[in-house]
Symmetry: C2
Subunit: 226 residues, 2 copies
Amino acid sequence: MHGFEKNGIIDWGALITSQPSLARVAASLRELAEVREIAAGRVLARVGDPVNWIWSVISGELRLVRRSRTGAEVILQRARGGFIAEASLSSKTYHCDLMAAEGGVVLRFPVKPFRAMLDQNADFRDAWIAELAQEVRKLRSQSERLSLHGAAERIIHYLESEGSDGAIELSQSRKAWAAELGLSHESLYRTLSRLQSEGQLDIDGPRIAFRKSRKGNARNQGKKSG
Amino acid sequence: MHGFEKNGIIDWGALITSQPSLARVAASLRELAEVREIAAGRVLARVGDPVNWIWSVISGELRLVRRSRTGAEVILQRARGGFIAEASLSSKTYHCDLMAAEGGVVLRFPVKPFRAMLDQNADFRDAWIAELAQEVRKLRSQSERLSLHGAAERIIHYLESEGSDGAIELSQSRKAWAAELGLSHESLYRTLSRLQSEGQLDIDGPRIAFRKSRKGNARNQGKKSG
DNA sequence: CGTACTTTTGAATCGCATCAAATCTGGTGG
DNA sequence: CCACCAGATTTGATGCGATTCAAAAGTACG
């Protein structure tokens, strides 16, 4: 599935292409990275453990979790690509458990040289700051989106905030998109086709865009008025 | 209302106390900051404008917005305290509008010295990185929380992720908390009193905590993983 | 005392989740 | 090429829980 690693050799070109978040920092980091294959359920760190590694997901799913006293698992972060637990860089020990919810391949970087490079390498530092800031922007907009109550509103918001010029090319299945939108996949399917039949959206395979309606309100296009 | 500023003189002690996000960076920034009183509706920057200032909210509400073609306003970020549009630091121009949704007081820092200080002052840089990483952590956990469907589940998740040892001292009104949880305030009130009467929570004014129950409070929420 | 806001409870409605099932898709191997 | 399978996609029916509208009681503040 991932296909970036074979016999311990990483295809950095493909990896970087698929992981925008790593694209700019990778050059300085390659010599530090270790590739690890992780089985589902594997625990990488527990509360209180010293922070020895910075983890980044290539395939599969890592989770930062805490277990409530009722036994329910509380997910604090879910990573299916890119770094997880960035804040651990500034911490001596973990405040949550880090585990693999799904088997896959991860990269790990030793923290000490990672921190040292942040100190000494201006490019790396700028890239890391830009990366974090970009992540903040994306997450803020996701939080705003999840605070919206209607399925249609979330879809529109997604197009406006993550798309370019009101259009996006989905790189994931719609089912996965539904999860990201905090909707059941049925709701997403239904709402998409409703928006299409109402003339608000153009849907063509993985491409979803606002319909370039001539003017005014697209709301009238689905039903006759008067 | 805010009380941090009088006749142009800032009470930095009070401000820093009230704004954890500024606490560690403030020392290096004081000489750069400018205090501005902003009226509701005031536009601070538009799409395409060059980034000249980094803004931080003391009181009132700033928003990063985009206007959809149907005229609806899409909120990308909403700040009622702390920095807004951190990603603009790495950008030449704005990709959204920045406006005041509610009048108040803001700080603004000129970008050039801000960037220069990031380059030259190691403490400031570490603080800024830690600040961003902390914000990422908080937002990730908020996104996970907003993806939960039940009101009770969100409350539990909040206690687990933002509280210490399963207890929190609310610093805001419950109505404001409801908004943060993505719930109507009625839902929050009802669910809180239900959880209390069911013996799951102890609620005492602004303090909300898991009840130290003996055991057998076997209500399971959330079941599936992987 | 009056105003504005929060907190609280009640009742009706609506949208989404859920369960169920059929179709479609891509990939695998005989 | 076909049979087969796992997954995604799509449509239908139903119930629950959150939103919404409404109104009252509590609280802070000048």
